[in-house]
């Protein structure tokens, strides 16, 4: 049937089960927004304060729900404002479809008003980009884009429509099609025939898994690493079953938070630069290291040469290109984490590694921070939050010290419970992500834990929080400095505190109030407890400004590029 091209675009979103869009309109995308006016009952659009906030919100929505996030923006600055958000999603393998519009065909390449080559700009930070010049290709491209974003190793894609493609008089052939039929048609069908494309995730090689089962049988000191792939693949149950069956300690990466219960007796805590002593010692001493959905980034495998040097390294990943990219591996299995772990679990006998565990857990899996008489400590803040809020609360963080403290201190029990920018390290990610998560999971309490530096990046999304009444509780670790940078200056740069003083920050309580939220500044545990109770009872956006010491540090710490047990702080 013939429909308007903009109808086809929105119908294709509905085909995918999309119900929420985060975005910001502008000149070139007006046609789509005009059509959206008639779709308000089916497509809930959230207008953010800034395109970057929309990008992070769509990303947070995707991470929390496991569905594909959708984000709209206009051409030029609208599109470039998305880029940090796109890169953030790309580095953490989060499936988001970004839709932008561009100038009309006759103006393309003429440096027209708000024209930018966003498909070119986004190329290195997306799985794929599409420039739509022919309206007839709309259904095909949208169906492909969603499949590419969601399958294999998930990630963002970007579709840029020329404005004339979306003009009201453009009619195209559109036949509604159920999602499961998409793969049998068009370019998507062609993609399934290619070697490199895992639109249909292939069955893992059983021989490869059997070999790993044998390696496990011969191992006395196995260590599992739970990476982001366990979270994205929602393989947490299979991972846990395996870990318990083979009785192996589990180190958790930043992105792996939620893939394995942080409070489990086998969990050794975070691994890497700010990893626990238990995790890092286990890595150095194990004889078999099995990394699941982990890319051995420089924050985990700080020094690839000495990383797990006493171990055979086995890498389980859905992305073939990750194998052997950063560290040498002795064996690898390509496949979906859920399926691989399920099969592996069937092939191994129950094991017991008491001696090995005793050795590992003789090292602390958590840092003990000292209480200070006249000041809140990060540990007190987190412990107080943990005791009061529901245990299944979703936590979105920004980047820096507060991020590390949060991940070290909280136990994350299910995929999507921790939302953090691990790969790209985007300051300003947290609030948008928290809003997206709350929209996607309205029944969950959502916390946004941030620092005073990060909160000033994209803090304007408090306007969105207030307008749509998306109740998120923000905790600001307010140390009046760029804490993590200052920590490096303290430890490595001879206390030369170059440009890290943030003593001139605004009054966050007043700022929250200006946006229509409530806020409270707290300086001790009692005040903090009161504030949390008030925030939970109030049920709307709330900001708790937690005053902590400027020179508080994240411990333990291993210097960049150093062997993983060379702790400069413990």
């Amino acid at each position: 049937m013939k429909v308007k091209s903009t109808v086809a675009i929105l119908e294709c979103l509905l085909e995918q089960g999309v119900d929420t869009i985060f975005g910001y309109p502008g000149g070139t995308i007006l046609n789509i927004y005009d059509e959206l006016y008639d779709y308000q009952d089916r497509l809930h659009h959230i207008l953010t304060a800034h395109e970057q906030g929309a990008a992070h919100a769509a990303d947070g929505y995707a991470r929390a729900t496991g569905k594909v996030g959708v984000c709209f923006a206009t051409s030029g600055p609208g599109a470039t404002n998305l880029t940090t958000g796109i890169a953030t999603a790309y580095y953490d393998s989060s499936p988001v479809v970004f839709i932008t519009c561009n100038v009309t065909e006759n103006l393309l390449g003429k440096d027209a008003f708000q024209e930018v080559d966003i498909t070119g700009i986004a190329m290195p930070i997306t799985k794929a980009t599409y420039l739509v010049r022919d309206p007839e290709t709309i259904p095909d491209i949208l169906r492909e884009a969603f499949a590419v974003a969601a399958t294999g190793r998930p990630g963002p894609v970007l579709i840029d429509f020329l404005k004339n493609v979306t003009a009201p008089d453009v009619l195209i052939d559109y036949e509604p099609m159920e999602r499961k039929e998409h793969i049998k048609h068009g370019r998507l069908q062609a993609l399934t025939h290619r070697i490199g494309w895992d639109i249909k995730t292939p069955e893992p090689n059983h021989e490869d898994i059997r070999k790993l089962a044998e390696m496990l049988q011969n191992s006395e000191k196995p260590l599992l690493i739970c990476g982001g792939g366990v979270v994205r693949g929602r393989a947490h149950e299979q991972f846990r079953t395996l870990a318990e069956k083979i009785d192996a300690p589990v180190a958790i990466t930043v992105m792996g938070g939620g893939g394995f219960p942080g409070g489990h007796e086998l969990a050794t805590g975070m691994i890497g630069m700010h990893g626990s002593q238990a995790s890092n010692m286990a890595c150095d001493n194990c004889d078999l290291l099995i990394a699941v959905g982990c890319r051995f980034s420089d924050r985990v495998a700080l020094d690839p040469e000495t990383f797990a040097s006493n171990a055979k390294i086995v890498h389980i990943d859905i992305d073939r290109a990750e194998i052997g990219k950063n560290v040498r591996t002795d064996h690898h299995i390509i496949g979906d984490a859920k399926r691989v772990l399920e099969l592996l679990c069937e092939m191994v006998e129950p094991m017991e590694h008491t001696r090995w565990k005793n050795f590992i857990f003789s090292y602390p899996k958590r840092v003990a921070y000292e209480d200070k008489p006249d000041q809140l400590t990060p540990q007190q803040v987190l412990e107080t939050i943990r005791q009061i809020v529901p245990g299944d609360s979703i936590v979105a963080t920004d980047v820096g010290q507060h991020q590390m403290w949060t991940i070290q201190h909280f136990n994350f029990d299910y995929p999507g419970q921790l939302l953090t920018s691990g790969g790209f390290g985007t300051m300003g990610f947290g609030l948008g992500a928290a809003l997206g998560a709350k929209v996607g999971c309205p029944d969950k309490t959502v916390l946004h834990i941030t620092g005073d530096g990060c909160f000033r990046m994209n803090g304007q999304e408090m306007a969105t929080e207030s307008h749509y009444d998306i109740p998120v509780i923000t905790f600001v670790f307010d140390n009046r400095t760029l804490g993590m940078v200052r920590q490096w200056q303290n430890l490595i740069y001879h206390k030369r505190f170059s440009q890290t003083d943030l003593g001139f920050a605004p009054d966050f309580v007043k700022l929250a109030e200006a946006y229509g939220l409530k806020g409270k500044r707290v300086t001790n545990v009692q005040e903090l407890e009161d504030a949390i109770h008030e925030a939970l009872e109030w049920g709307h956006g709330y900001v708790v400004d937690c005053m902590i010491d400027t020179d508080e540090m994240v411990r333990p710490m291993v210097g960049g590029g150093q062997p993983i047990t060379n702790f400069m702080l413990i």
């Binding site: 498909t119 190329m123 070697i195 490199g196 494309w197 290109a321």
Partner: protein, 161 residues
Amino acid sequence: MKQTISVLVENQAGVLNRITNLFSRRAFNIESLAVGVTDDPSISRITIIVDSGNSVVEQVEKQLNKLVDVIKVRTLEDDKMIARELLIVKVSCTVKTRTDIMNLCQIMGAKIADVSPNTMTLELSDTGDRLELFLSLLRPFSILEVARTGLIAVQKGSGKM
């Protein structure tokens, strides 16, 4: 070590950009690159030479495979491929030297593409080493201009990508 990677891609605007973008983003250095359409007008073949270790080439291959526009990637082994470059070279000549240059062309299998009273333009399609040899032989006659394509290659024998 120089290695030849042959890539079949969809013949669409922006695909070459995507490939070269990947190389720059991953800090892989391209030694030479040649693009041309295949017998199927919807498919182009890109032949890329990289001068890197095996692990880099393996990574290049894997990363290329992740691009939606890439249909197939294959690393060609030196002794199992037919590989050619095209050279066009303009040399200055006189009535006296013209015969010498023609002799060189005959020995090397080069063609004379154009002649003027004081120049000759020669073309030779051969392996990179042979082109180098031809150029070194021409150098005494004063080379005015050189244009070379990147290398193109296919597998030897009946096998195809």
